[in-house]
């Protein structure tokens, strides 16, 4: 009788070990893997006249806590580096598509007049195509510095959530809840007309060291208008 119980216990223990050996790595891999899925939407756009000067404004990254949308310090997430990286990417893209960049003198004038800074503050609304009177005035003032100028505005809103979890007792799992929305818009400064708009949703936090960040930039700008002719 005692031997039977011992054998039964030993089989149960062996089964449990086998079960854990099989399921544990799978579960841990599933929880550790970064759940990334992207969704891209691009509004139909037109081609730009070949001499249209394009101003690529430094993108803006905002970080918020998912639970209560409280702003978090961007520097804690390499926000500045991300902005620079995205800016470089967009500038290179404009160059590779042989679009005309605004003159350096114009850039300086815009900076001196605080126009670049002021318009950057309004980026979250502008990328959604919401232009109030003040934004229109700012864009018009920018247009006065270089004729038929268009501006490329980009905004990334990162909602920092909790990581994925796994409870070995109940088998309950949860996925990471962080997500980032990359938005960009190309606007004609004189008329505040939206020429192109792109959007990519990343179900993760952007990582400066990951190749996926550049993939996301590429996806966002993939349908950016080309130069005419």
């Amino acid at each position: 009788m005692g031997a039977n119980i011992r054998t039964s216990c030993s089989i149960t223990a062996q089964f449990r070990t086998l079960f854990l050996i099989i399921t544990l790595p799978v579960l841990l891999t599933a929880c550790a893997a970064k759940p990334i899925s992207t969704l891209s939407s691009q509004e139909k756009s037109i081609n730009l006249a070949k001499d249209t000067p394009v101003l690529v404004l430094t993108p803006r990254f905002d970080y918020e806590r998912l639970e209560d949308e409280v702003r978090l310090e961007a520097s804690a997430f390499h926000g500045g580096l991300m902005e620079q990286s995205m800016h470089r990417f967009a500038e290179n893209l404009v160059k590779s598509r042989e679009m005309v960049k605004v003159k350096a003198a114009t850039r300086k004038k815009l900076l001196d007049a605080n126009l670049s800074t002021d318009i950057r503050k309004k980026i979250p609304r502008l990328v959604r195509g919401i232009f109030d009177a003040e934004s229109k005035d700012l864009l018009k003032a920018m247009a006065a510095h270089e004729q038929s100028m268009v501006v490329l505005l980009s905004y990334v809103r990162v909602l920092v959530g909790k990581r994925g979890t796994w409870d070995p007792n109940s088998g309950a799992i949860t996925a990471s809840s962080s997500r980032s929305l990359f938005e960009s818009v190309l606007v004609e400064c004189e008329t505040a007309r939206v020429l192109w708009r792109g959007q990519v949703l990343l179900r993760d936090m952007p990582d400066i060291n990951s190749d996926r960040l550049k993939e996301t930039f590429g996806l966002l700008y993939s349908n950016l208008p080309a130069k005419e002719g």
């Binding site: 579960l27 893997a33 899925s37 969704l39 959604r128 919401i130 088998g171 949860t174 959007q199």
Partner: protein
């Protein structure tokens, strides 16, 4: 000996009382914003207006009114309020969450029917499901309550729903994960609505 036994008995009774009270208490949390002058007892009835679908990724099909408003109505009633759902309220579709966050008296007074004083709008920010070795569901729901008479925001909060189950069973029940996550999100959101004692 009898003194120890009596103390033990008192302890057991106290523990039971604590447990029963704990189980019967409705969940409560701190809201992102609540008007310091808000008095739940002065709220005669809350009108739930059409929910806003603020999702970028709309791949999951959601019955907004049923999954958000009907559930919130039940919860509000449990919390002591009278609530009614107005699915065809003349608001919602054209409003953005951003507008609600920055709502001024002028906008607030236009929300919902003229005879409603306390109006609530729920916003579905996101919902997603995922299949791994098991399945998970995440949902985010925001809520706003306005006092139309005074043109003020009285309550604003956000509820997060994170659910999931590992293993084969989890994989089988993936189709209900979005529903479970939204449900959890609405429950989580409602936990900051102050309880109304006087019905």
């Amino acid at each position: 000996m009898s003194s120890i036994s009596r103390r033990l008995r008192i302890l057991v009774v106290l523990a039971t009382v604590a447990l029963v009270t704990g189980c019967g208490t409705l969940p409560q949390k701190k809201a992102i914003y609540i008007d310091s002058a808000y008095n739940p007892e002065s709220v005669s009835g809350i009108t739930l207006l059409s929910p806003i679908d603020a999702r970028v990724d709309q791949t999951v099909e959601v019955e907004l009114s049923k999954q958000l408003n009907e559930l919130m109505k039940k919860i509000l009633e449990e919390r002591g309020y009278t609530a009614n759902v107005l699915s065809d309220a003349p608001t919602g579709a054209t409003l953005l969450k951003y507008d609600l966050k920055a709502a001024d008296a002028k906008l607030i007074k236009t929300l919902g029917p003229d005879d409603a004083r306390w109006v609530m709008i729920l916003v579905l920010d996101d919902v997603t499901t995922q299949l791994t070795f098991g399945s998970t569901g995440n949902a985010e729901v925001s809520g706003f309550m306005f006092d139309k008479q005074n043109g003020t925001t009285v309550w604003r909060d956000k509820g997060i729903g994170r659910v999931g189950q590992g293993g084969l069973y989890g994989m089988v029940i993936k189709s209900v994960m979005d529903e479970k996550a939204i449900r959890m999100g609405v429950f989580n959101l409602s936990a900051s609505v102050p309880l109304r004692r006087d019905k």
